[in-house]
């Protein structure tokens, strides 16, 4: 495989007004403030389950199995909710049960799950004992996350890292045992990042399936075991190739915190994690998503996981020219809420996409303008660039060319993470050969054009420059409106993707709990402390 030429992020190529950029950032933090505050004033069933998982609760209730298997963390949290409620968190009642019982975490969890024991809220010394155990176990759990980051660093140091840009490929057979050989074949042909797409609808499950699975639809269930199996397979091929191969999955959905925790424990390297995706595209309650995203992002922050945001989704429904500014606006918000959860710039894989109608005049010039604008606005973020999907048809030849032009724009604008397009996007989930051809396409284009990124300039009063400034201005206008009325109201007003969502509508509201005074969650406290944000 041709070696990649030296990667660079071309900056200062467009005469954009940086005061406008600064104003957008300022508006974003104004808007994000109340959202972060809301998140800090609530907890969710999934956050409590994630916390239990981090202190070692796992497994499924006997007698339940497969995709329907009922996880013990769910059973325990349900039991606590029904007995003492979740307002003060699940850890104290749980560790009280552990300490007043056999002392073993998993055994106690099983007892509670089977209904053999009913959790209570301990007082006095019992409370102190439970709190101390909880705090110790939480420390181990949080350490485990931090260790994942260290282990990754060590592995990269020993096997070697991948050169940028990173070629990101998707596997989606539905069966982890078919996914693995395909992921390994892709890695051998040059894939730097493997994403295992989830089975349709998993994001709406209020629990995380268990074990190795083979029954997904158009994707494979995100389970801790599937994570482990794929991570091991990629470590194996990474050794072989002398290049650390990254693994990605999806946090978004009703179980963001738990999946984030599992990803951290199994040393995944990137996670799809967007502050609004669940709300807009999956009709998940906004309080639920806003609260969950904060916890899950603190986990990612500590685990050294790069998040991928989902702005590309706006363009799969809306027009990529008319709505270009909504992508940028959402990126400023995602950036702000990510930093508020302790993530660093280097962890912000802000997403955008090459989705302009191929029949539109000057589409290649416009895509260049959009991609370069985003590059200029986020000079330190490892941007994630998504290929054409919406306008991909059954003409696989023409589709292969669109993907090539996408690669070219990615190369010319120095995008860090390139999600390789599939010529069969309009037909089926990727075939093994689709992926291999996509890699050949990318090697050719990046091998041939990367250095151009350093030396191309755009006429200061040409269409590209003009278009970039226009999109930036439209973004400012949008953020000003949102800032005026506030984030919740803006979503209720359908200002994002023309989709109306109400504060108390959508799925998963029942799992949102306003923290009572006395809310205790050592896991959350330690996480916030470690990543340096207010708990």
């Amino acid at each position: 495989m041709a070696v990649k030429p030296a990667f660079q992020r071309p900056i200062g190529r467009l005469p954009i007004d940086h005061e406008v950029v600064d104003e957008c950032r300022h508006l974003a933090s104004e808007i994000a403030g109340p959202v972060d505050a809301l998140a800090r004033s609530r907890t969710t069933a999934s956050i409590e389950r994630a916390s239990l998982r981090l202190v070692g609760v796992d497994g499924v209730v006997e007698g339940t199995e497969g995709a329907e298997a009922f996880p013990i963390p769910n059973a325990v949290v349900d039991a606590i909710r029904d007995s003492v409620g979740l307002e003060r968190g699940a850890l104290i009642p749980f560790f009280d049960a552990v300490e007043t019982g056999c002392g073993d975490i998993q055994t106690t969890a099983g007892e509670i799950a089977r209904g053999e024991r009913t959790p209570r809220w301990p007082d006095g010394v019992d409370y102190e004992i439970a709190l101390e155990r909880a705090t110790n176990e939480a420390r181990h759990g949080v350490d485990r996350i931090a260790e994942a980051a260290e282990l990754r660093a060590e592995r990269i140091a020993s096997v070697g890292d991948a050169e940028k840009p990173w070629f990101y490929l998707i596997v989606a057979t539905g069966n982890i045992h078919e996914d693995i050989p395909q992921a390994q074949a892709a890695a051998r042909e040059g894939a730097d990042v493997i994403a295992v797409i989830r089975s349709t609808g998993q994001s709406l499950l209020d629990y995380v399936p268990y074990g190795a699975t083979g029954d997904g639809f158009a994707g494979t269930f995100a389970t801790q075991e599937n994570f482990r199996l794929m991570r091991a397979a990629l470590d194996e091929v990474g050794e072989e190739l002398g290049r650390y191969v990254r693994l990605t999955n999806y946090a978004s959905g009703l179980c963001m915190p738990e999946i984030a925790a599992m990803a951290a424990m199994e040393r995944l390297d990137m996670m799809l994690n967007d502050c609004m995706y669940g709300i807009i595209f999956r009709d998940i309650n906004m309080q639920r998503t806003f609260t969950d995203q904060r916890f899950s992002r603190m986990v990612h922050a500590l685990a050294g996981i790069v998040i991928n945001t989902g702005e590309d989704n706006y363009l799969t429904t809306a027009d990529a020219i008319e709505s270009a500014h909504t992508v940028l606006a959402s990126q400023f918000l995602n950036e702000r809420l990510a930093l508020a959860a302790g993530l660093k710039d280097e962890q912000l894989g802000l997403g955008h996409a090459f989705e302009i109608n191929p029949g539109a005049p000057d589409q290649i010039a416009l895509e260049l303008a959009h991609a370069q604008l985003i590059r200029e606005c986020f000079p330190n973020a490892p941007l994630k660039y998504m290929p054409p999907t919406k306008h991909m048809t059954g003409n696989v030849f023409q589709g292969f060319l669109y993907d090539g032009m996408f690669n070219l724009v990615g190369a010319l604008t120095g995008q860090d993470i390139i999600l390789l397009g599939m010529m069969t996007e309009g037909v089926h989930t990727p075939f093994l050969s689709d992926r291999d051809l996509a890699l050949e396409n990318a090697r050719y284009v990046f091998g041939g054009a990367t250095t151009l990124a350093g030396e191309i300039r755009f006429d200061a009063d040409g269409d590209v420059a003009r278009r970039a400034s226009q999109v930036l201005e439209e973004c400012r206008q949008m953020l000003r409106k949102v800032a005026d009325i506030g984030m919740f109201e803006a979503i209720e007003a359908g200002m994002f993707a023309d989709t109306v969502r109400t504060r108390d509508g959508g799925k998963g509201l029942d799992g949102v709990v306003v923290r009572g005074d006395g809310y205790v969650n050592p896991v959350e406290t330690l996480l916030a402390e470690r990543v340096g944000v207010a708990s």
Binding site: A172, G174, P181, Q184, A185, A186, R188, E189, S199, T200, G201, L204, F217, A218, F281, R282, D283, T316, T317, H428, T429, F431, L432, S433, D436, L437
Partner: protein, 254 residues
């Protein structure tokens, strides 16, 4: 007209292009295996013009060859649209005159499918390719349930709203998800004793009209369908709806 064959650059040369992967390590043996596959598919003098190993266990091939098969287009029975294409006014008039009340349309993406763009293209004002959606028709009442709706919710809605037509969208086809999910809705309607009372329509990019029967649907629409086609079809089914008289549950519905 007579039989025709694939055309490369000369009439009846029968040339076709083929590509596929075999789970075998790249080698001359692999090339022969590909040749064998091509010959078994009826290609004469096939040429493996490209062979590439993918990892250690797979090889990709591009093959050109001549097929001897032919087809007589005129002999094929191609289902011509069995209903007339009506204008916006004609559809509204038909509903007013035949049904004498608004036509209630319930639409949903069922199962785990969250691809709403297609259904929205048919239902929403905006419509598709410049053709306005069903919401635009003054004589229709549209209830768009959106994505990932369970068969139960659909049945409930049909009862509550007094649905006359049920429109189900399925885009994800991997492992036949689309067929499985369409059947589930049909069965739920049967169980609820509503099947004959509604016009049941399915749609998605990978369906062809043929499949209606096997799926127990009244009609199936494929890729590129337009709202007016759907509206015209519904208008063609009004008599049937009238027959059944008002929905038992309609009154609850209003």
């Amino acid at each position: 007209m007579t039989a025709i064959r694939p055309y490369g650059d000369t009439t009846d040369d029968g040339m076709v292009q083929l590509s596929f992967t075999l789970p075998v390590t790249v080698s001359e043996r692999a090339r022969e295996a590909a040749m064998s596959i091509a010959r078994q598919m009826g290609l004469e003098r096939p040429q493996v013009v490209h062979m590439k190993g993918m990892g250690a266990d797979f090889t990709f091939f591009v093959v050109y060859g001549a097929t001897s098969v032919s087809v007589e287009p005129d002999e094929l029975e191609v289902e011509e649209r069995p209903f007339p294409l009506l204008s916006y006014q004609e559809v509204n008039r038909a509903i007013r005159e035949t049904l004498k009340r608004p036509l209630v349309v319930v639409g949903a993406c069922t199962g785990t499918d969250a691809h709403t763009v297609g259904l929205d293209a048919i239902l929403s004002m905006k419509g598709f390719a410049g053709d306005k959606g069903l919401e635009f028709y003054s004589e229709m009442k549209i209830v768009n349930l959106g994505s990932q709706v369970s068969p139960e919710e659909i049945v409930e809605t049909v009862e509550r709203e007094g649905g006359d037509a049920v429109l189900i969208s399925q885009v994800v086809t991997q492992r036949d998800a689309h067929l499985v999910h369409l059947r589930q809705v049909e069965e739920a309607l049967v169980d609820a004793g509503l099947r004959e009372r509604v016009v049941l329509v399915g749609g998605g990019p990978r369906f062809s009209a043929h499949q209606a029967a096997e799926l127990g649907y009244d009609r199936i629409f494929g890729r590129g369908s337009t709202p007016s086609e759907v509206a015209s079809y519904l208008a063609s089914q009004l008599d049937r709806l009238v027959e059944f008289g008002p929905h038992p549950t309609t009154h609850r519905g209003r």
